[in-house]
Amino acid sequence: MPQPAEPAGGGRPPAVYGERLAPAVFILPAVLVVLAMSIFPLIVSLYLSLSRFKLAKGGFTVDFIGTLNFQKLLVGSQQFHLLGKLVPLSPVAWAWVALVALAALWPAISGLRRGAGWGFVVGRLVIATGLVAIALLFGATASEGGQFGSLGVTLIYVFGGVTVQYLIGLGLAFLCAQKLAGRRLFRVVFFIPMMITPVGIAYTFRMLTDTTKGPFAPFWQLAGLGDFAWAATAWGARIAVMIGDAWQWIPFMFIVLLASLEAQPVDEVEAAMVDGASRWQVFRYLTFPAILPVSVTLVLIRMIEAFKIVDLPNVLTNGGPGIASESLTLHAFMAWRALDLGGSAAIAYILLFVVTFFCVSFATLTRRAGVAA
């Protein structure tokens, strides 16, 4: 009877060799795909942002021009578009900036006092600098006579929007966590908005907010607001965008917070209440700390996505009135549509920096909340 042949090449049998390759086999497909579709475009985009795209005979040319695109956006003729119309800060604005500076420097200072490593302190200082810069920008554009640019508008959408979405989502989650009949039905219904394509939602809200033929038109008339055009005022347009955004993303907050509330062990709550704790104390000392880690991650996820908002302002107001509702992605999208690829890439890179700054800052500052970010 012939012996089973030795595996070719001598040495290890195939099974063990496959086992050795397991780490690579498991992770390489994902790493390769992500590498190919992210690193490469990222670098090409960087190059585009430093050049000028021009159509020419036979194709197109990409000429390196250094930081001209960025200069135009930050200090040049498009500054009003990106940063806004900057005016000297009013005293109130200065007060706010001072407040923000104090709040932002606190982690660094307390770290120093505690004797934390210099890496820790430097990190906190960088975050503080960024926050103060943003506060200055807001001060310069929100003061009398100033106007927001796409950067400011995006920050309004992100921070205002996420806050409102979180609070309403939390409220709904609380309501649904109670023992109410039919709450499964509520859960299912509340989940639906998240499943509609953003373009569809944008057009739906455009229909709804139409002041002449939308469903609320008669109510506007009755309330005497017949002549008020939300789309013709800067804040009206921004709020309309935020309402649409909230409608779509509150389900996301709701579902996650609800699940986390339901995962709370009931015995603890019961024990506390039997011991005489009020509902408020239960919330403050038991529930809130339990959902805090979830909330932090949730807010972080939502923030990352919120920075990319484009469909709603595009469809509702096309960025108007003027540029009052234009987000950074919309700004980049419009530039790209007009074939200003260099400018578009420059704006997108600025957005990338801003998002990275906020996400890293947020993750760093909330690490103490017990989340391994």
Binding site: L180, V189, T212, V256, P293, F333
Partner: protein, 342 residues
């Protein structure tokens, strides 16, 4: 110690609380459902009914008509079914692949140890940059540049790689992968278009599937990583002692145990691929167009065709809603676990 008489359960609200809760929940239900109702009735209106002011009730305020439906599913049947089919195929394929690859990567990041060296990574990036500059500035044909870049990288790896000891860990890899979500699609659209053009894959479903897989893997890794962490190590350890290979363990033990998480992740990724607009717009022209593009296309030069748009929105939502209703339980549980560990 409970009292013997029937006590209201501790988290059951007072009757007043119940009433208030129902009112608030009812309000929000209306907020959610009213826009959908409006879209549904608009799908059955003729243009004059839309332009002449709001009409709320079919048969009472206006006569429902099937004009928009006839137009989309009669006259333009081929041009409506094609995007529909594309959306279904691309969304399902890309979701399945993304979940498969992503779960494998998530498992690896949880159970195996990686120590990629910083030097290797920097070297790799450097080689990519050099390759790109070569193609862009000097006009080297891209397969040549690719080959040279890889060769250079291999050289660097074996030559200088040993010098730089500093290495990263699993968490860093995970963070890198997840941070890909920060990238705005508008940044990568042009380079991705050029890549697919050179590969001859423009306007094919394949290009969309590849792109969506790449874009959604971060989500899969994020969610599945933490779900997998919840699976007891002992099960796998005892299997390993019995001689099972990694692959066996993954396939026969880990996957069945993580079905809820898989279902949740799958639905989420499916929704994202189903609804994606910008990348599909750019990578498709005729054959690979998807439904979101068709919806946006109803905004013609003559103004949005609200009626056709509403039909398309309804037709787009219904399958996803049905699927979500069926899998709703998995979603909330799956999302939670993903969020807790961050």
């Amino acid at each position: 110690m409970r009292a013997t008489r029937r006590m209201r359960a501790i988290d059951e609200p007072t009757p007043l609380g119940k009433a208030v809760s129902y009112v608030l929940l009812g309000i929000w239900t209306i907020v959610v459902l009213f826009p959908l109702y409006w879209v549904s009735i608009t799908a059955f209106k003729v243009p004059i009914d839309v332009n002449d002011g709001p009409f709320y009730l079919p048969f009472i305020d206006f006569q429902p008509a099937l004009d928009a439906w006839q137009y989309l599913f009669g006259t333009m049947l081929a041009d409506t079914l094609r995007p529909y089919l594309n959306t279904v195929i691309v969304a399902i394929c890309s979701s399945v692949i993304a979940v498969a690859i992503g779960t494998m990567a998530a498992y690896a990041l949880v159970r195996l140890t990686y120590r990629p060296r910083v030097g290797a990574i920097l070297g790799f990036v450097l080689c990519v940059i050099l390759a790109i500059l070569g193609v862009a500035l000097v006009g080297v044909p891209w397969p040549v540049a690719l080959a040279c870049g890889l060769a250079l990288f291999a050289l660097l790896l074996y030559g200088l790689g040993r010098r730089f000891r500093r290495a990263l860990g699993n968490d860093d890899i995970a963070f890198w992968m997840v941070s890909q979500r920060i990238l705005p699609p508008v940044t990568v659209v042009v380079p991705v278009y050029v890549v697919f053009q050179h590969l001859g894959l423009l306007d094919t479903r394949t290009s969309l599937v590849i792109t969506y897989v790449a874009v959604n893997i971060p989500i899969v890794v994020w969610l599945m990583r933490d779900f997998l962490m919840g699976i007891p190590l002992e099960l796998e350890e005892s299997a390993m002692i019995d001689g099972a290979s990694r692959y066996r363990i993954f396939w026969s033990i880990v996957l069945p145990l993580s079905t809820p998480g898989l279902a949740a992740t799958f639905i989420l990724v499916l929704i994202m691929a189903w609804n994606e607009y910008l990348l599909a717009l750019f990578l498709s022209s005729a054959n690979a167009q998807t439904l979101p593009i068709l919806i946006a296309a109803q905004n013609a030069t003559r103004g949005p065709q609200w009626w056709s748009m509403s039909v398309l929105i309804i037709v787009m939502i219904v399958p996803v809603v049905l699927l979500a209703i069926a899998l709703e339980r998995f979603i909330s549980r799956g999302l939670l676990i993903g969020a807790v560990k961050g």
